[in-house]
């Protein structure tokens, strides 16, 4: 700025900045989690997991598992919410954990986000590839791994291009797409339940109260396996909590949109899963359909050609989640590069599109390598990687919970609210997630408990994938520390005094 001393630097920090309308923050909250795609990708596996692990038995408690899984996410969201409300400038996982728990854990938290992104992109691409063919009724191509992979790779390319080019869907387009998605899922549930209760088609069964009871799940292993998968379907919601919304009175109404988007999500998941089970449980629980339960059920429920709208809903959902998946990850590596925790080039922004393009493209390339590589080895391992994904997400979300409590440790006793929501809730969230993570890691050690049934080094593939990625992360971290030790000497920080009190959510009531 030497050449322009008279310039005010950054002008106009004014009123509109970072503020999002109430409706669009609800839309962002729900769309970030991509309910249509999440259900398509996970519901079949949750139903399978809700049976006794390692046996052919299946359970009816998928809706209960989806409900319970929300609990840890809710508690972690409290950490996100307070970290962000108190200081919107402090970033997310990488920055928070580095400040609160040190550079090494911060680095690994950032790494886990990258790995989760690479894995989920592969799965997203697989669903997108498959549903693209189902949309045009090309069943034979949809059955071909080669063609699905080919189109899946094209999808990754398109999604990467969208993020690199910085194409933002307007708020109105987002609202429209989400509206279509919700209506479609709603119609799916209504028609399914109509056929169950009114026309009483053969093969259907009435909804039972026990479906919603986590206590009816037959074992703890079963519950935790299902929950780890289901944590994935709420993934994205947590970061949406940090979107600052524009409200009439921010001290009275913060987070209202977070509450509404949560209720919408819970309703979609529970109603759709219950309706799907009631309509045709055998189809839902058939492992052959696990990777595309919604399309299988859709054609049964709607018949042709109406079943296409369900496929469109899943495809738009997958596309919509792109921006909320790749972009935050690319920003994480950008942030790491700026902190000298990763190679400098990852911190570059595109001169015209102003996006973190090097990071975005790298994510796309890694996802393609992972996707194609895994498909060549064994397609079933792609599904195993979903379980590995759950381990990754649990790891870094859990770090946030601890980071929040540590960062604010001097403030926790300042009010009851601070103690509960900044300290206790995040830690409980972490405890649950880490319990799930460890319990599952132990269960997944047995190759029998994997989709592929393969044994890698005597362990199940999901565990090997997760451990392998984390080991790779540690190696890269050490390498980076040797190359550029500066970041790894960064000092711990705590929250400045009164930061919690300044957060509107606490300030409103306590003072």
């Amino acid at each position: 700025m030497e050449s322009s001393p008279q310039a005010g630097g950054v002008e106009d920090k004014g009123l509109k900045k970072n503020a999002v309308s109430y409706l669009s923050s609800i839309v962002i909250g729900v769309a970030s989690t991509a309910p249509g795609y999440s259900l398509a990708a996970v519901l079949g596996f949750v139903v399978l997991a809700s049976g006794a692990a390692g046996t052919e038995a299946v359970g009816f408690q998928a809706p209960a598992v989806l409900l319970v899984s929300f609990v840890p996410m809710f508690f972690i969201a409290s950490a996100y919410y307070y970290m962000n409300r108190a200081d919107p400038d402090c970033g997310t996982t990488f920055s928070w954990v580095t400040k609160a728990m040190g550079p090494h854990l911060g680095w690994l938290g950032g790494w886990a986000i990258v790995v989760a992104d690479v894995i989920v992109m592969a799965n997203l691409a697989q669903i997108a590839g498959l549903y693209s063919f189902l949309l045009v009724d090309a069943q034979s191509l949809a059955d071909s791994t080669v063609w699905v992979t080919f189109v899946g790779v094209i999808w990754i390319g398109i999604m990467t291009a969208i993020v690199t080019r910085g194409i933002e869907l307007s708020a109105r387009t987002q609202q429209f797409l989400l509206g279509v998605e919700l209506l479609t899922l709603g119609a799916f549930a209504v028609v399914a339940l109509w056929k169950v209760y009114v026309t009483g088609e053969p093969g259907t069964q009435h909804i039972d109260a026990s479906w919603f009871s986590p206590f009816a799940v037959d074992s703890l292993s079963t519950l935790t396996a299902g929950m780890l998968l289901a944590v994935f379907i709420y993934w994205g919601w947590d970061s949406a909590v940090t979107v600052n919304e524009e409200t009439e009175d921010s001290s009275e109404a913060p987070g209202k949109s977070a509450v509404v988007s949560t209720v919408i999500l819970l309703l979609i998941y529970v109603i759709v899963s219950a309706a799907a089970q009631a309509f045709d449980f055998s189809l839902l629980s058939d492992p052959k359909n696990s990777d595309d339960v919604l399309s299988a059920l859709g054609s049964e429920i709607f018949g042709s050609p109406l079943d296409k709208i369900l496929i469109i809903a899943v495809l738009t959902s997958a596309a919509a989640s792109t921006q909320t998946t790749i972009l935050p990850t690319a920003r994480t590596t950008l942030s790491m590069a700026r902190a000298k925790a990763m190679p400098k080039v990852l911190g570059d922004v595109h001169p015209r599109y102003l996006t973190p393009h090097v990071s975005s493209i790298l994510m796309g390339v890694l996802s393609i390598v992972w996707y194609v590589g895994l498909t060549i080895v064994d397609e079933n391992i792609l599904f195993d990687s979903l379980a590995a994904l759950g381990l990754m997400i649990a790891f870094y979300l859990g770090l946030n919970g601890i980071a929040c409590a540590i960062y604010y440790r001097h403030e926790l006793l300042s009010s009851v609210k601070a103690f509960l929501f900044v300290g206790v809730a995040p830690l409980i969230g972490t405890a649950i997630l880490y319990y799930l993570m460890i319990k599952n890691a132990i269960d997944l050690a047995d190759p029998v408990n994997s989709e592929s049934g393969d044994s890698w080094l005597g362990l199940g593939p999901p565990l090997v994938i997760a451990i392998g990625f984390m080991a790779l992360g540690v190696i890269l971290m050490i390498w980076q520390q040797i190359r550029a030790p500066e970041f790894f000497r960064s000092k711990l920080e705590t929250a400045p005094p009164d930061l919690v009190a300044r957060a509107p959510a606490t300030a409103g009531k306590e003072s």
Partner: protein
């Protein structure tokens, strides 16, 4: 006042063309240039603050180059980095300063592409109350 000329400047070739045209006008009209670099990271998710800082730094580098360029053309100029999407940034600066006009460059893209992907000049000419001069790069 109403004598300042607002220029959208991001260092691209077409924004250089816009700056050159604006500098010429400014010297003729005895106006002052305001180089606007608008940016706004997409709100959704991740380390937004670092992204914002990266863009701010980028803006500082680019606009100081622009300042040199303007000076070289004999125009008086200043810089405004605005944390808003470029169209909003240009219009808000023009409004706040009651500017004479806004000058922007265009890539000469296919009009349909500009319409679909939302090019800055396309939006600006529809929305701005300040007169807009579009210069092809």
């Amino acid at each position: 006042m109403a004598n300042e000329i607002v220029v959208g400047y991001d260092g691209s070739d077409c924004s250089k063309a816009a700056l050159d045209a604006a500098a010429k006008l400014a010297t003729e009209l005895k106006s002052k240039l305001v180089l606007v670099f608008g940016y706004e990271p997409y709100r959704v998710g991740g380390e937004i603050q670092d992204h914002r800082k990266a863009l701010e730094e980028r803006g500082e580098v680019v606009t100081s180059e622009g300042m040199e360029r303007a000076k070289g053309k004999g125009a008086e100029a200043e810089v405004a980095l605005v944390d808003r999407e470029s169209v909003d940034a240009l219009m808000s600066v023009a409004d706040a300063r009651d500017a004479r006009m806004i000058v922007v460059g265009t890539y000469g893209e296919h009009p349909l592409k500009g319409a679909i992907l939302g090019s800055t000049p396309y939006k600006l000419v529809q929305l701005s109350e300040t007169p807009v001069l579009v210069v092809r790069g």
